[in-house]
Structures are given as structure tokens and as C-alpha cells.
Symmetry: C2
């Protein structure tokens, strides 16, 4: 919700690299969200999210189904990562899932979100579901794995990874230390 404005304020260029989280979780041995696999910690994490969103004035309602598949939305994001409307699309998908409890796994919901941005939904979805676009998302996910990414959001700055909303400021401030 805040990476674009924060990067702009810091004068840092931002390149979106959408990837799928499920395959990265599977590599860690998690066949579900850690929120579900470790329910005591998961309960805390939901409460933490709730408090953070309240403090930042971001609407939040715990989804009645979790996790929902982000596959359709991720394909759109990967295919159109360079477009000016993409960041707002991503925010609307997150808001649909985490504030409005909508079924973002469904193509019809993703189509509606695209339309809300004035995008031709059928055309965009078709472009996002070609074999080439699917392969590009897979390649991006494999790249994330090679980089050592295990969660989202992750911010990559040079050789450094910063994981999570909590580390956004550190990522934006990062300057590689001078080597001896």
C-alpha cells in the first residue's frame, strides 16, 4: 500500500517483480500459509496486521478464506509489471482480499478490478494467460528463489534482501558499505 509513495519520497527507483509465493513456501517445506501451519504465531500475526493497519489508517478485515490463490492476479501483474496502472491494480487486489473479503482467486473478480481501472479486462486476462506470460511468471518465481527470497513483500537492493513492510525504510535507505 505504501511502497510507491515511500520510494518516490526517498528518490529511489522502484521496479516491480511479481512472483508466486506458493512455490517458494513449498521450498521451505510449507504446504500452506505459515499463519495456518503455526496457529499460535498465526493468531499473533493477524492481530499485528490489524494493529498496523489501524495505526496507518489502512482498511483491514481478516479474510474469511485464507490464503486465497493469487495466481490470476499474479499473472496479470507479471505480464503488465511495467505499466503505469499496475501498482494501483496490485493495491486493489490486496484491498479486495484483505479489506473487502472478496474472492480474488476468481477471474471475474480480477476482471472487475481491471475494469475499475479502465482496463479492458478480457483482453488483459487473455494476454496474461498465454503460455509465454505463464512462463515469464515461473521464471520470475525461480529468480526469486535463487535470490534467497522466502516471503513477500521482499525488497532487493543490490545484493541485499529486505523482507516485509517493517524493512521498507531500511531498504530505501540502504547504501552498500564501502569495501576495504
Amino acid at each position: 500500500m505504501r511502497v510507491e509513495a515511500a520510494a518516490r519520497a526517498a528518490g529511489v527507483a522502484l521496479v516491480w517483480r511479481p512472483f508466486l509465493l506458493g512455490p517458494l513456501f513449498a521450498k521451505q517445506g510449507w504446504n500452506d500459509s505459515p499463519f495456518n501451519l503455526y496457529p499460535v504465531k498465526g493468531r499473533y500475526m493477524w492481530r499485528d496486521l490489524e494493529r498496523l493497519c489501524a495505526a496507518q489508517g489502512i482498511p483491514f478485515r481478516r479474510p474469511s478464506v485464507f490464503p486465497r490463490s493469487g495466481l490470476v492476479a499474479a499473472r496479470v501483474a507479471a505480464r503488465f509489471a511495467g505499466e503505469a496502472w499496475l501498482p494501483e491494480f496490485v493495491r486493489r487486489v490486496y484491498q479486495a482480499n484483505f479489506a473487502e473479503d472478496r474472492e480474488i482467486a476468481e477471474r471475474s473478480v480480477v476482471a472487475e478490478l481491471l475494469e475499475s481501472l479502465g482496463q479492458p479486462a478480457a483482453e488483459r486476462l487473455a494476454a496474461a494467460e498465454t503460455a509465454e506470460a505463464k512462463a515469464a511468471l515461473r521464471a520470475q518465481t525461480e529468480r526469486a528463489e535463487r535470490l534467497g527470497i522466502f516471503g513477500a513483500p521482499s525488497f532487493v537492493v543490490g545484493d541485499e534482501i529486505f523482507w516485509g513492510n517493517d524493512r521498507l525504510e531500511a531498504a530505501l535507505a540502504w547504501r552498500a558499505p564501502a569495501r576495504p
Copy 2:
């Protein structure tokens, strides 16, 4: 390393409640540190720690053995939690492990740390190892479990839990919202 100064600056009273992490990890299904169980994430966490300590000027060296048993030190901490010297003892134990790579599991090392604070080590260790003191630490650990604690440090403010160094400021600032 910073909770005491931060609490004092915020005008918040601080009560130390030492507990054992191992039994709480076991309840989540972890038979080792998650840093070891999930090595990709663990690698990130070590790097994150290194960056955080560098930014705050706190000495850090990744321990050659991890995790080390904190049982002896935790017994001392639980037995003497109300003493004025205890917070500095805790800091020295962490520094011995995470900056000096010392074998804090050993009684002789804990004894040396006690002595460095002018405490009669043999006497303190004996008091920390009575059946009553051991039972008190077990009870404290069970209380942590009942509260929904799964990691350390955790800060308990009223009914709220805040987990981790990242949440210290939020814990100190927490005021329960007015109920309708």
C-alpha cells in the same frame, strides 16, 4: 539491549518475566531454532540481525554454535528477576553469546558473568537451582504459553502481545482503545 532505556524514556514500568523458549518452540512443532529448521529464511534472519546491530552500534558476531542452551542463565534470571543487577546480567549473557561467541550453556561462563557484576556466583547459582526456583521458571514458561507467546522478546501490555525488537516502540506506545 535497549528495552530498559526505551521504557525509561517512555515512562513505562518494566517487569522482567524470564521464560524458556525451547518448550514454547516445541509447542509449535519446532524441535530446533526456526533459523536452523528453515535455512533459507534463517540465512536472511542472520543477515538482518547483522544489519540491525551495525545500524545501532551493537557488537554482533554470529555464534559458531546455535542455539546454545540458555537454561542455566534463564534460571538465574527467573530467580533474580526483581534485582537491580539482573538486566545488566541478561545483556552480558546475550553479548557473550551473540558478540563474543562464548559457551553460555556452561555454568562456568554464567558464573564468570555473575562475578563480572560483583555477584557471588556460587551462591547465586545454587539459589537458582533449587527445586523451587526450577518450578518457578517452569510456571513462568507455562504462563507465557497460556498468553499465546511463541518467541522472544515478547512484550505484554494489558491484553496485547508485541513480539520482537521491531515492536518495542509499538508496545511502549500502546494504550488500549476506548471500548464502545
